[in-house]
């Protein structure tokens, strides 16, 4: 698998993907909250599942399950490390 050079948003990950955070394009209190929850640079995120209506999506981060909306996850950029091609 080729390593992507350009960063991709977390929202583009699909089930089973592993994601390495490189950049968070959010300012203010939400950024702080995300940091506290473990969405820090170099953190590894995996995609768990979508909610019944498609959004939000639950992610596994530092051994906890956190749900984010598309609005937020599209602002978190990084590398998809292990793509699960279905």
């Amino acid at each position: 698998m080729l390593m992507e050079k350009t960063l991709k948003p977390l929202s583009e990950c699909s089930f089973g993907d592993c994601f390495l955070i490189k950049e968070i394009n959010i300012k203010g209190p939400l950024r702080r909250r995300l940091l506290d929850l473990g969405f820090v640079k170099e953190a590894e995120i995996s995609v768990l599942r979508k909610s019944p209506l498609g959004d939000p999506v639950a992610y596994r981060v530092s051994n906890t399950t956190i749900a984010l909306r598309h609005d937020e996850s599209s602002m978190i950029l990084g590398e998809i490390v292990r793509g699960n091609t279905k």
Binding site: R33, K50, P52, P56, I66, A67, R69
Partner: protein, 465 residues
């Protein structure tokens, strides 16, 4: 606590100025990242055998938040809670009511032997004792069942899943998925739910949750809904089927409340509370089996007792007041009847009557006392009847000209009308805004009047009543 004082000390000012030079936007990122790096390295040292196999919680989440089963499971859970509450509360309610009836008889004898004046017996026994007794017998059993079941679901970790499932709907309406959690709290008590809205961190979404919480029927209003549904809507059924249908009707009303909540949120977020929805993070904690008896004991003791205490504190003076109003005459009509007659044209236009309107207005301190006030007002002697016999109660209503429309509109009005006094006080405390507190009164009231007027007009136009 927030201090108004400005930094006036020159030393501090100097320090702050210097700090601002070194401090920059990225420093928080760096601090938190460093702490996380340390946490990670500590974990590497002290935690072993960390395998990332699928946990039990994940498997359960596949069911509870499944595309197909997520919503049906939520509805079934809600229905089951209502069913258990209604079915379980019936017998103890009757028992408590008979106990109070027995005690009332004894009290009356006691008053007679002491040759107490008639009015004293009226105020204390027919007013205070009956009114309070009614509230306890109607409120205590459902609360002692509802709160523990709810606490079990809460401790199990199911509620965040509801917020996860519902978020899309709330986002569309401009709100936050956690609003569904505050709504769930509202089933217990709207006043308490207003406090619980602080779990929503962004002010705009929190305000939406505060303003619409009232559309979830609280414990004080369930008895009204259950009573009227079982008297006027499930007439063809009895026993378990009847309970099931009552639970079904209740779910229907809850769904209506949800629809109104989403609509009002949507309209407000497009108008007065315009802005981009912000701040969404929701933790889905692992499912954990709650300590069964511990949870039940604590929930009944803490919550049920607390809400009951509040209800009785409000019910006691309200019962006395209603009795007094019903027994003091100005001209040849009691004060209460003057009030009722004044409200009657308005009540009739909404498919109800002046008594019901008066009961809702006098019931402002707490919704629990609406039905007791109504019954007290209906009975000309100004005291409430024994409540063990429901058919007798229905006869009282029918004698007053009730139809299915009266029952339906009273239920609708109960679901949609202004929040109770305690809730309004809490809304003021939380928002610190007279304007929004007033809006939280006005919006539901306008909706309640509009909806009941509409159903009444339509039903009459088609000759259904």
């Amino acid at each position: 606590m927030e201090s108004q004082s400005v930094l006036n000390h020159s030393v501090l000012k100097g320090i702050l100025a210097e700090v601002n030079e070194v401090s920059n936007e990225d420093i928080r990122d760096e601090i938190v990242s460093d702490i996380y790096t340390k946490s990670k390295s500590l974990c590497k040292k002290v935690v072993s055998q960390q395998h990332s196999a699928m946990y039990r919680s994940d498997k359960l989440d596949e069911i509870f938040t499944s595309r197909i089963w997520g919503f049906p499971i939520m509805l079934i859970m809600l229905g089951a809670i209502f069913y258990i509450t209604i079915a379980g509360a019936n017998v103890p309610s009757d028992m408590i009511a008979s106990l109070f009836g027995y005690l009332e008889g004894k009290l009356t004898i006691l008053f007679e032997t002491m040759h107490a004046p008639e009015w004293l017996h009226g105020i204390l026994v027919l007013g205070l004792f009956r009114g309070t007794g009614w509230v306890i017998s109607v409120m205590l059993p459902p609360m002692a069942i509802f709160f523990p079941i709810f606490a079990l679901l809460e401790n199990y970790g199911y509620l965040p899943r509801v917020a996860f499932n519902m978020d899309r709907l709330f986002k569309r309406a401009g709100g936050h998925g956690k609003q569904s959690l505050t709504m769930a709290m509202g089933f217990g008590c709207n006043a308490a739910a207003i406090l619980s809205t602080r779990i929503i961190e962004s002010p705009r979404e929190r305000m939406l949750a505060i303003l619409t919480n009232n559309f979830v029927p609280c414990n004080g209003r369930w008895p009204t809904l259950i009573l009227l549904a079982s008297l006027f809507m499930v007439t063809g059924f009895s026993g378990a089927t009847g309970t099931l249908v009552t639970a079904g009707i209740l779910i229907g009303f809850v769904m209506l409340g949800v629809v109104v909540t989403l609509s009002v949120s949507w309209i407000l977020s497009k108008t007065a509370l315009k802005g981009v929805p912000t701040h969404y993070t929701l933790e889905l904690p692992p499912f954990r089996k709650p300590k069964f008896w511990n949870t039940i004991l604590r929930a009944s003791l803490d919550k049920a007792w607390y809400v009951l205490k509040r209800a009785v504190i409000v019910a006691a003076p309200a019962s006395i007041l209603t009795w007094v109003f019903a027994n003091i005459y100005v001209g040849d009509t009691s004060i209460l009847m003057h009030f009722v007659n004044f409200l009657d044209p308005f009540g009739q236009a909404l498919g109800m009557d002046g008594f019901i309107m008066a009961a809702f207005i006098l019931g402002l301190p707490a919704n629990e006392i609406v039905i007791p006030i109504l019954i007290m007002a209906y009975l000309s002697q100004g005291a409430m009847l024994e409540i063990e016999d429901l058919s007798k109660l229905k006869q009282v209503f029918i004698d007053q000209g009730w139809t299915w429309l009266t029952a339906l509109n009273m239920m609708l009005f109960s679901l949609l009308h202004f929040p109770c006094g305690t809730t309004l006080v809490n809304i003021y405390k939380e928002t610190k805004s007279p304007k929004w507190t007033f809006m939280s009164f006005l919006i539901p009231t306008v909706i309640a009047i509009g909806v009941t007027w509409l159903t009444a007009t339509v039903a009459r136009a088609f000759g259904w009543v």
